[in-house]
Symmetry: C2
Subunit: 337 residues, 2 copies
């Protein structure tokens, strides 16, 4: 039987009211009383029941994050990095972190959000991998439910977000590759209408146009953000009638898959073919050759996004509701060093 506020009050011969206020740091409690209460609470090992407190205060003191999965079994370094950022920042504000898992773009996923919103199980939600027309954004906006996102949407709904300038990043990447003499550049994109995909693709297209290169639709294909997907797509590209001389993966995992495909075909990556990714995951540093990429500091982005959400929850005025981070080009061997 856990210790309740009643037990503490009885022991001190005080009312539960006073105990409650003493512990929550209200000013209208005598200093000596407060000290006695705090000491006794600590001694008895009392912690307020989360459920009761939530019920009464009508706040969950928790935020939620729903991991989008593609297959049941999947491994994406993005998530451990991102989640640890959200977790650390939440802990810093004494908020709990609720996690759920749901396949992207399904009814299940929407239901999961709905449950959290309607059940008031969390005070706010963190979104990642936003889509151009994102039903989650619509749901949360309509419900007036607090959220912050890593990534933008086309709907201009004014929610707080952090994002990197994907378009600029992709342009940097293409220019760099062109400068090294590779002119037939393919792009392996993401499924669905992920905003980051659309933006990176736009950057790719823009940079090609700027270089006065004719766009070639056969060079833009769809992957699934995984290594295996990148591998498959690259294999097909490289074995086609007019293969590309360079491949950009919409994320590093895709690019690493492409790199494996190229090597398997006996193509010297960095020389016969250039390959580059987007994300800056650690695996890319140690691939052979190391992967050229555009780095996004996922952990920091996660903390920042969470901070935007928390500010919204506590009603603080936020200096900046929209943060757009500059992309950072990391040049490594896979594009010719």
């Amino acid at each position: 039987m856990p210790i309740t506020i009643r037990d503490v009050a009885r022991r001190l011969k005080l009312s539960i009211t006073t105990v409650s206020r003493a512990l929550d740091g209200y000013p209208d409690v005598a200093e000596t009383t407060r000290q006695r209460v705090q000491q006794m609470a600590a001694q008895m090992g009392y912690t307020a029941s989360r459920a009761a407190r939530q019920l009464r205060r009508r706040r969950a003191d928790a935020i939620g994050y729903i991991m989008s999965t593609s297959q049941p079994r999947f491994s994406d370094p993005f998530f451990s990095d991102f989640v640890s950022g959200v977790g650390d920042e939440a802990a810093a504000h004494r908020l709990e972190l609720l996690l759920a898992v749901a396949p992207a773009d399904t009814a299940d996923e929407m239901q999961a959000y709905q449950r959290w919103v309607q059940g008031r199980r969390v005070d706010g939600i963190i979104l990642t991998r936003t889509r151009v027309k994102d039903p989650r954004v619509r749901l949360l906006s309509t419900a007036g439910f607090p959220f912050a996102a890593f990534g933008r949407t086309r709907q201009r709904l004014g929610f707080p977000y952090v994002d990197i300038d994907n378009e600029a990043g992709a342009r940097l990447l293409v220019k760099h590759i062109l400068m090294h003499g590779f002119r037939r550049i393919a792009f392996i994109g993401a499924p669905l209408d992920y905003t980051f995909h659309v933006q990176r693709l736009a950057g790719y297209t823009a940079a090609l146009a700027q270089a006065r290169l004719r766009p070639d639709d056969s060079l833009v294909v769809t992957g699934d953000l995984t290594l295996a997907g990148g591998y498959r797509a690259a294999l097909e590209l490289l074995q086609s009638r007019r293969p590309p001389t360079a491949i950009i993966g919409v994320n590093d995992l895709t690019a690493l898959g492409a790199l494996a495909a190229a090597e398997e075909l006996g193509l010297k990556v960095g020389q016969a073919v250039a390959i580059a990714g987007f994300d800056g995951i650690v695996d890319g540093e140690h691939s052979r050759p190391p992967l050229t990429t555009v780095r996004q500091p996922v952990y920091d982005i996660a903390r920042l996004t969470t901070r935007l959400l928390v500010a919204q929850l506590s009603g603080d005025t936020v200096p900046q509701r929209h943060v757009l981070m500059p992309p950072e080009l990391i040049i490594r061997g896979s594009t010719g060093a």
Copy 2:
């Protein structure tokens, strides 16, 4: 203002009791009533307040998992895989999943567990990467708090766990490598006293002994479970006075780092030097050459571990409280194919 059970009851001109029972599937409700209630609830978008329900039933209806991090920024595919397993299984039992992040083997970590236990924030806890003498196991056991683990400890405390036979797996690996003619086999291990490390090392040692090879302490070094750590350790090993002809990484990330190091030194992996890992993460399938490894089905293990915990919570009799899975050797190019 969220919709409460009262709203639904009023709308149907029923008592809240009936609504509650209809939704929770009690048998003493007329079938037609149940249908009306369920339909109306769905239509109104009603979900019971988690807090109220928790308070009343004195259960959190939640389980917790604390991710151990090594650095603030880290990416380990293990976690996304494992967490999605826990998340799916928890959802299947209508349990919430609480997540926290804490650096392994620190006071912070212990405090995080303590908080969850004391505040009854969760009904049970999932543990991974158990250590030989694991303070978390001690804490939870002493408190009589339900938990289940992926991995064993030396303390024989009879808690439910799932594990793979690490020792047998390592023996398989060593035998396979020896059979391919590599005789000077190094082992890059993990920090701390992780049980899986100790067990895999034991298997390695046993297999060498069985082959009547003299153990060489200089061949057993410590990594940090990351790519970078494996890379550094391997570089040192391979550049030493008497370099190994084969390297086993205690996990795949370590092995992939070693693979990068070997390639960088111009050593043909699979020919001049054999490299193998342990885990079966997807990245290994597409490395050059692909990585020989011992596969552990992390997602399934996560679900199973969670199931053991849930069974314990609901007081079901569990057919098997301890599950030891057979290791599966995956032979690929990095050991000579």
